[in-house]
């Protein structure tokens, strides 16, 4: 299983890239009681038979990995959903595209930590595939959107260090902005923090982003 939700998300976006998608949308909505993720692509899609197989853990198309005969990406997703009583739905139409949608309970004790989404977003946006990617990330009422084509228009080639540094700065600033929990929880009493794991989680993530501030 992937150690973080972010790694799982990158992996699913890579499925879309590997399906030849030219348009990918990733929508992440974090609320205190629910984490919702939708990945929509216009890649080659799957027919009913492949879709059934793909939802079986360990199916792979037989081409991606020379030395490995099992596909792990969707299996990891199903495992996480099952373990934490979440929900998952995949809709796919051959030649049209695929939508993967899942919901997880942020307070479930077995849920892997969310991970560093700024790192994940920089890696996904700067991945050199021919196609566009739009990321929408919201935490409670705050959100931001990052679109690959627009960012390339502003920054140029995203494999260049100069562009990457600015891309990272842009994503981190926007992540900080939506994770800014001070506005929501001005003073967090230690006792309350311990009772509410979601708030603890907020703080931890805030600390990660805050570190780069100096």
């Amino acid at each position: 299983m992937h150690a973080t939700i972010c790694n799982m998300i990158i992996d699913l976006v890579h499925n879309s890239i590997e399906a030849g998608a030219t348009e990918i949308t990733l929508k992440i909505e974090e609320k205190d009681s629910n984490l919702s993720v939708v990945i929509e692509d216009n890649g080659r899609g799957m027919n009913a038979e492949t879709l059934t197989k793909a939802m079986d853990p360990f199916y792979t198309d037989g081409q991606k990995h020379k030395h490995r005969k099992v596909g792990l990406g969707l299996a990891f997703l199903y495992q996480t959903v099952e373990m934490t009583h979440g929900t998952v739905a995949i809709r796919s139409q051959e030649g049209e595209g695929t939508t993967v949608r899942f919901n997880l309970d942020p307070s479930h004790i077995d849920l892997p930590e969310f991970g560093n989404f700024a790192q994940a977003a920089v890696a996904m946006i700067s991945h050199g595939f021919e196609g566009d990617l739009t990321i929408e990330h919201s935490v409670n009422k705050k959100s931001y959107t990052a679109n690959k084509a627009e960012l390339i228009e502003v920054l140029g080639d995203l494999s260049e260090m100069e562009s990457l540094i600015l891309l990272k700065q842009f994503i981190e600033e926007n992540e900080k902005d939506i994770l800014d929990c001070e506005a929501i929880f001005p003073v967090i009493h230690p006792e309350i923090r311990n009772q509410q794991s979601t708030i603890g989680n907020f703080n931890e993530r805030w600390a990660i982003y805050g570190k780069n501030d100096t």
Binding site: H2, H14, G128, Y144, F170
Partner: protein
């Protein structure tokens, strides 16, 4: 905290461009390719990517490109990273975690010396141009 907009980003970019001196064409720059297959991701390829970015920028090395690729077929040594520095053999490193990524920047890209204990593969000397 105010949100950073695309327009802010554009201004930053233009500021950087103005202070940049004219540089040689890009074929002189080093290239890092990170394997981002499922096992690469599971083994920490994203963290390695971030470590490269961080270490390169903290040493002001800006003439390097970072690219990503899918499966390199080397799950057992993920994260795998290919490094190409002009004038040096192309090398594939295995088990590149945050620390190793930072060493590759300091020793290989800046210091021009291979990080021998993490080399997974390098082409035979006679096929190097």
């Amino acid at each position: 905290m105010a949100k950073m907009t695309l327009e802010d980003l554009r201004k930053l970019r233009e500021g950087k461009k103005a202070e940049m001196t004219q540089r040689d064409s890009s074929d002189k720059s080093a290239r890092i390719i990170i394997g981002m297959g499922t096992c690469g991701i599971a083994a920490g390829a994203k963290e390695a990517f971030d470590a490269f970015l961080d270490e390169l920028s903290s040493h002001n090395v800006t003439d390097t490109k970072i690219a990503q690729t899918g499966c390199m077929g080397l799950c057992f040594s993920e994260p795998t990273v290919e490094v190409e520095v002009p004038g040096m053999p192309r090398v594939i490193y295995g088990n590149v975690d945050d620390k190793v990524a930072r060493r590759i920047v300091k020793e290989h890209i800046i210091g021009k010396a291979l990080v021998s204990d993490h080399i997974f593969d390098k082409p035979a000397a006679d096929i190097i141009k």
